[in-house]
Amino acid sequence: MNASTSVNSSDTLTVSSGRSAETRRPPRKRYVFLMSAPALLGLFMFMVLPFLMALGMSFTDQRLLSPNATEWVGLRNYDRLLNISWLVQEPVSDADNHLKQTADGELVYPRLRSVLRKNPEYKEFKEFTHWSFGDKRVVLLAKDPSFIQSIINTLLFVILVVPIQCGTALGLALLINQKLRGIFLFRTVFFSPVVTSIVVVSIVWSFLYHKDLGLFNHYLNAMSFGLIGPVDWLGDPDWAMPSIVLMSAWQAAGVQMLIFLAGLQGISGDLYEAAELDGAGPWGKFVNVTLPGLKNTTIFVVISTTIQAFGLFTQVDVMTRGGPQGSTSTVMYHAVTKGFREQDIAYGSAISVIFFLAILAIALLQKRFFDKREDA
């Protein structure tokens, strides 16, 4: 202890002073313990422990408030979440071997519910979606179709919001990187949505997206000379998620804008001068100097935006409650619905574990990205 602590703050500290200090006051160990314990306790209690609990509970049938004893159920929660299957259905034909058709001329298939019930292999499975191939119909089955839908919705959100948000942020950063008087004012303006709560933003945008009164439909109508009718932005399954994407990108782009701005200011002016001497125009300078200079910043921004986007919850909860027709339900929305609103904590924990593994995978991908860059 003495030997290790006497060199604690500097290599030049003499041994004698270390020893004399040691004799006059309580040992440093006690200070280290007392000063680090509160934060470490907090991190352990409210980050590490819940995560370990989630891991453990995901193999049980724990409910939030239940008189029944909790039991181990092995991988049942994960099986319910992730198990998918499929079956092929032939159209029904009548006695003369003609294919049966509905009044609309559509082929008739055996009732899926009874098919699934008859076959023990398809126990617990429900229809997720189906496609037609010629006469045949392929039915995709899942034990929890709304979770599969939530994964797809979340991925759709990520794929749309990451390029839009990062692109907007880069554009804004380029704008405010100009040497103009009063540019700081615009920086504040572009940043103001970030400090506004996403709950408040979602409520105000619900009004702007309103089918009859909203601004979006008003401008759309005006610009298309009345050709494009009102769109029910948040009420149409095709438009609800893109509408949330647009709002989310608008709200959060300010953060990435500041990071890009710092990246831009880190690019040496000499590079631009050299490019100018080589006869590069504004576009040439952007492609050959700015973009390569922002490579690390871009990787960081894209990864952190992606991780954030995976957690999409609040906008959905305030604006659409997962609807219409499940088109905006996300992984986190499903976790809260199941784990909290339906009190199935074990099932919600299993979703949390899957969510965490996805985040971890992205983080590791990020590390590989950075390592590769250092090799190069």
């Binding site: 200070y31 704008l175 103009l180 400090v195 976790a335």
Partner: protein, 289 residues
């Protein structure tokens, strides 16, 4: 030509600025207008101008229909308690990590960095079960008793959000770069580690304390996913779940905008007062994080 270019740049900036400022200004202006005026002004520039018959009726209705003042008080208590406690415990841990040598230090530091990638969303569900099992100590019939769970309380919204790996890391980075000469001199004079922290490091670390306070304030004031799960009753409800519930059962847009403006007020006030600090701290946090 140069001047024309500059004019074009300003016009473009103004257009983009309008897009970014419109919803916020619209919200504030509409909160002072009667319902018909909001709709009449909606499609013109008047939507974001304080013109026409301005009134406080919307605010009056909101205060009457919702216990918004109680929620506001709760949010202030939760936010200030978490920020103050957070500044203390996070900087203390960062101090031991950056300026003291002890065995296990490297592992703890690595663990803190690793925890930074876990988003709050990943742990809210199991955290809910955890706090539902934690007892509170209360005063009943003249004695201390263990009562129910942590759910529906203010502390359930404060304590889980005091220690924060990201803020610890920000403190760590700042403390690490302070020259060691100061500590050494103090140590020779017989100062304890806590005295060094209190009288040397803290006074020199104003900027990082301000940065963390601002970030923590934003995080706490805008809490949503956790309180909607952990707080069912009205007594401990903070503002964001409050406005969501109000939004769910109200059809008057003027009142909704009044509510929204009211709960955004503290953030906007802090933002406008410390704009430069605000922007630079978030930028710095983003780069280092």
């Amino acid at each position: 030509m140069k001047r024309l270019q500059k004019l074009g740049a300003y016009l473009f900036l103004l257009l983009i600025g309008y897009v970014f400022l419109f919803p916020l200004l619209f919200m504030i202006m509409s909160s002072f207008k009667p319902e018909q005026v909001i709709f009449a002004d909606l499609y013109s520039i008047r939507a974001i101008l304080p013109v026409g018959d301005l009134t406080l009726d919307n605010y009056r209705q909101v205060f009457e229909k919702s216990d918004v003042l109680l929620y506001f008080r709760n949010s202030i208590l939760i936010t200030s308690a978490a920020v103050v406690l957070g500044l203390i415990v996070n900087s203390l841990l960062a101090f031991t990590l950056s300026r003291m040598r002890w065995s296990g230090r490297k592992y703890i530091l690595a663990a803190v960095v690793a925890l930074m990638i876990i988003p709050i969303e990943a742990i809210v569900v199991p955290l809910l079960l955890l706090v539902s099992k934690l007892p509170t100590i209360g005063w009943e019939q003249g004695g201390l008793v263990l009562m129910g769970s942590w759910l529906n309380s203010l502390e359930v919204q404060i304590l889980p959000f005091v220690a924060n790996s990201f803020f610890i890391f920000l403190f760590y980075q700042f403390f690490r770069d302070i020259p060691k000469d100061f500590d050494e001199a103090a140590e020779l004079d017989g100062a304890t580690p806590f005295q060094i922290y209190r009288h040397i490091i803290v006074p020199m670390s104003g900027p990082v304390f301000a940065t963390v306070a601002i970030l923590h304030f934003l995080l706490m004031w805008n809490q949503y996913i956790w309180p909607i799960m952990a707080v069912q009753g009205e007594d401990a409800r903070p503002v964001m779940p409050g406005i969501q519930i109000f939004f769910g059962r109200q059809t008057s847009w003027g009142e909704i905008m009044a509510y929204a403006s009211f709960v955004t007020l503290p953030v906007l006030a802090v933002f406008l007062a410390f704009q430069k600090k605000f922007v630079s701290s978030l930028a710095g946090a983003g780069i280092k994080g």
